[in-house]
């Protein structure tokens, strides 16, 4: 789908490129562009964070991104260009971890497309996050199960809006 770009960027090679995302979703038909950037932040649940390692199963992540993109396109029901990118490897403070950009004719559709996409990504993509703390400790995030059976129960318990990083 030429309206959809998905990518995984290894932090040892490059940072995620927000400017490229905004350029990709631009189009003479589009008046509204919404963009979300998730960045590594200094504190999580009162622990000082020095970095995050993202581990992911690339073929399944890319496939999941494509499925999420197709679903957003269907739900928004308007012309749409969508960029979904995630970092992998060892990220430092302030590094972008995830970038979603959506271009559409009007702003309501752009916001909806961007939000639907980042929520789906957070809940469904096989991406793991290991936080490293100032005290030398580190921990894998306790997140959402990828099994359908567990996922439904977890989403209901958590409410719709995740409050995890970003």
């Amino acid at each position: 789908m030429e309206n959809l770009h998905v990518e995984i960027v290894d932090r040892s090679e490059a940072k995620l490129n927000v400017a490229a995302a905004l350029e990709f979703v631009a189009d003479p038909r589009f008046g509204g562009i919404a963009n979300f950037v998730g960045r590594v932040r200094e504190f999580n649940r009162d622990r000082e964070v020095t970095g995050i390692t993202y581990d992911l199963f690339e073929p399944l992540v890319l496939k999941t991104f494509r499925e999420i993109g197709a679903r957003t396109l269907a739900e928004v029901g308007a012309p749409l260009k969508l960029w979904i990118a995630h970092a992998q490897g060892d990220l430092g403070l302030g590094d972008p971890a995830v970038v979603v950009a959506a271009g559409t004719p009007h702003r309501d559709e752009a916001f909806r497309a961007c939000r639907l996409t980042i929520e789906a990504l957070k809940h469904e993509a096989p991406i793991w996050k290991q936080e490293h703390y100032a005290d030398g400790d580190s921990a894998w995030s306790e997140g959402c199960s990828l099994c359908d059976e567990h996922r439904e129960a977890e989403r209901a318990a958590a409410g719709f809006h995740g409050t995890d990083h970003g």
């Binding site: 581990d55 199963f57 496939k63 995830v98 469904e124 996050k129 995030s141 099994c147």
Partner: protein, 86 residues
């Protein structure tokens, strides 16, 4: 047959190489494989919680597999603990 299971996230700690090989009978289901993996990890990597394995999914490069489905013919699998990514 051999099942070659790629590890991710918190499950990486179950093996330094990032993968586990298990002998499984032909036609083995994902549910059976899960039990064999629990037994293997209990023996070789007791630090990894059994609970984490029970909450993990199995997948190929293409899709997530459910407990009643068979292990794919090439034996290549990934075990996918709960995600906290993004």
């Amino acid at each position: 047959m051999k099942a070659r299971i790629l590890l991710h996230g918190a499950l990486r700690e179950a093996d330094p190489a990032g993968r586990i090989e298990l002998d499984v009978p032909a036609g083995c289901s994902i549910g059976e494989l899960r039990e064999r993996l629990v037994a293997h990890v209990r023996e070789h990597a007791p630090g990894v919680g059994e609970d984490l394995l029970r909450r993990s999914a199995f997948g190929t490069r293409e899709t997530i597999l459910h407990d009643h489905e068979p292990v794919p013919e090439d034996g290549e699998l990934a075990v996918l603990p709960p995600v906290g990514g993004g």
